[in-house]
Point group: C2
Chain length 500, copies 2
Amino acid sequence: MRDEMRRLIELDRERTLFTHIGAILGWDQETYMPEKAIEERAEQLALIEGYTHEKAVLPEIRDLLAALEADAGLSETEKAYLRVARREFDREIKLPSTLVTELARRTSLSQAAWVQARKENDFGKFAPHLQTMVDLNREMAQALRPGTEQPYDALLDLYEIGSTEDGVAAVFADMERELVKILVKIESRPPVEDAFLRRKVSAAAQARMSDYFMGAIGFDRGRGRLDTTAHPFTTTLGRDDIRITTRYLEDYFPSSVFSTIHEGGHALYEMGIDPGAEFRNTRLADAASMAIHESQSRLWENIIGRSAPFWRKHYPSIKAMAEGALDDIGQEAFLKGVNKVEPSLIRTEADEVTYGLHVIARFDLEAALISGSLAVADLPEAWNKKMKDLLGLDVPNDAVGCLQDIHWSMGSFGYFPSYALGNLYAAQFWDAMKAELPGLEDMIAAGDVSQARAWLAAKVHKPGTSYLPEELVQKVTGAPLDASHFTRYLDEKYAAIYGY
Amino acid sequence: MRDEMRRLIELDRERTLFTHIGAILGWDQETYMPEKAIEERAEQLALIEGYTHEKAVLPEIRDLLAALEADAGLSETEKAYLRVARREFDREIKLPSTLVTELARRTSLSQAAWVQARKENDFGKFAPHLQTMVDLNREMAQALRPGTEQPYDALLDLYEIGSTEDGVAAVFADMERELVKILVKIESRPPVEDAFLRRKVSAAAQARMSDYFMGAIGFDRGRGRLDTTAHPFTTTLGRDDIRITTRYLEDYFPSSVFSTIHEGGHALYEMGIDPGAEFRNTRLADAASMAIHESQSRLWENIIGRSAPFWRKHYPSIKAMAEGALDDIGQEAFLKGVNKVEPSLIRTEADEVTYGLHVIARFDLEAALISGSLAVADLPEAWNKKMKDLLGLDVPNDAVGCLQDIHWSMGSFGYFPSYALGNLYAAQFWDAMKAELPGLEDMIAAGDVSQARAWLAAKVHKPGTSYLPEELVQKVTGAPLDASHFTRYLDEKYAAIYGY
């Protein structure tokens, strides 16, 4: 390896150290930090973000990139790394460091305000912070693409390279049509019984279930852990320190079960990235994209985690842990219950059919917030209207309405589409995996997910950012992204459950 | 305030932010970090320590100090700040940054190795790390005082300015003589019954007791929290983020009760430091010294926390929380039990008389380790001999012997004397407080410690580093440090308990 490459990696790793330190501060803020510490925490985060940015835009990096790009003798991995390093440098250099630190400071305060506002069901408390997040994100979009009239595109690109509002809108229009078709078929059948899922299960019992499922999917406890937060998430505090969170709703235990599996899927991805020892803790060891990330969480949560084979193995254990709440419920009934399709208010607890409609709502709303066609003050009303139009629901209050998700409080505008794209990738990966691993569903029914995990690790996780998302899906499945895998998966699944 | 002062404070605050960020990383390592994350955590800590040091030795600070020192018009507080800033700059500038980062990296690894070695009772696993800690501390001593033949003095000075091995040895010789006198009187009397303290109390019940006592002493939960670790400690993650830890031994619940009150005393000190809003998060808002720090923890743990008035108020509550373990034990018997004097193996659980002997043992041993007259490999034997000589005890294994304390694993050589000095300061502060607050013990018996807390905050906590420890004790008590307060306190206390 050339000295310039070595040096580029060294600088990249120092930046990564700062990234991980920032993640530790952020994780602590969400999990254990005492309330009054928030002001200084915001300063600490701003300081770390400032250094992270500074490390990413060193003039030395520009010189190293130029020297290496002129070299014809690089390995394929080195070339891939160089592409990523160039792309990220060119992106970060456009961001003024004052904007980066201001965003970090304001985000920390905004998240804390969101937690309070959600708890107290008081949108007014959060509104000024949301306004700041919108303003700073618009400013970031202008910095990334000076003079752009589509600032939302610049933000979408941060999560899914090359994606645009028009492109996503076209995919979503098709998706909405297909989802509604399936929904109509389901609604033609008698509803599934799921009231038993609302029976009380203590937080302690749910914690045992979460721990059980971490084991069941092969979460490496030596390299991560589970805690509780207002909103479940996964965060990377170090290459060997991947943490997930969940929340325990005593009157709806499936929430913690499926969010633990969901975040566990994210964690398995992070734990599996390994483009070679030389590239550890470099940008080559990042996730390919947020949609690819969501493909891993949704694959584990839904395609595996809500499947009949999975529960054939695990239902008896969960029944035994449920403090009597499932004593009179058979496996078949439980499986149907956790797959019940019905429009509902909370995205993270939505079924697989209506989930996409939640995402479409958020996509439309955040695009409007960023373009300016929707004012922050009008968000609750606009949210409630979307829920009525797309899901036919009345929203009783903002806590279960526009305050339910953490994303906007973190200034993540453009992230939501990743969830729906993740579903599409997940179904396509799943079809490829099934074709390559005969007897996969039998293995899952026997409690053995090691081959599934190994397949995902080798094919999807390991390369990190070596491939663009579209290259990755082509390489792994032999075809470009094709939404029909997802709709076929849904249609077959619900035909079995609802008998249509 | 002059621009130079403002700028000096600004730079100092950035350094403090890094200090607090390092504390977050360290706290997380001890509380929640998954095992395999340790290697990268060591790198993260080294990075942060490196920046902390760099911020402390900026050439700009030298210029600012010189400009301000030439100014005759500074306020008293500004002058005090300038003295501290000068002292710390002159100290830190002597430390090469390579040493600082190496020490941080090695300390993190050493602490993790210590936790394992202690758990497995395997000194051999810890020995190479201890050797590194000794070597790096010797190197630090030489950097601080080039050519010194008393490297331990340079380390003592880090915790208690101006203290020397000879000076401490002289104080300790007197103290040992007095402690032994009291011990002889106690041993002339029938032993106190305390076997009931070994009855099982669950960790959950102990956690409720700890929470209760945090409330009882006035710990501000909005500015801190309690977690569990291998060794109890207090750490400052932010001006409004002071965290304490304890451990729950199910067969000895007083351990968590008194360590929570002890660490709570440290936390009240950190929470009370306030030399003025302009000096927030500067070095003027540090603790005056480690001995002063220990005076606060030991005052709360022992002088208040093991006193008859304190338990008059709290015993009924604790009895009710003890899951039946205290049902047949009266308040008087309990008070005697938790004040039982008897040589024992574990320092943190030692009574107030033999505690000083534990400190003397560690002082002798660490001085010998640093001077080189004791080899690391010979530590277990030397430790066991000390315990025999000073306490008459045989040490069954290293886990309850030379592996019991965290300090050397953290490279803290020179800290232990602070505990014994802290006892002396504590007793002297206590006498002053009693003289100024009539009815103090009645208030404590009524569960009201607000006046005691306010007195300590105003007199001892608030000034931070405005005064040297010897100036502070003079200012607060009207006299220089005088060990007779402590021995008189002990003698009166144990005369009552043992009836000699």
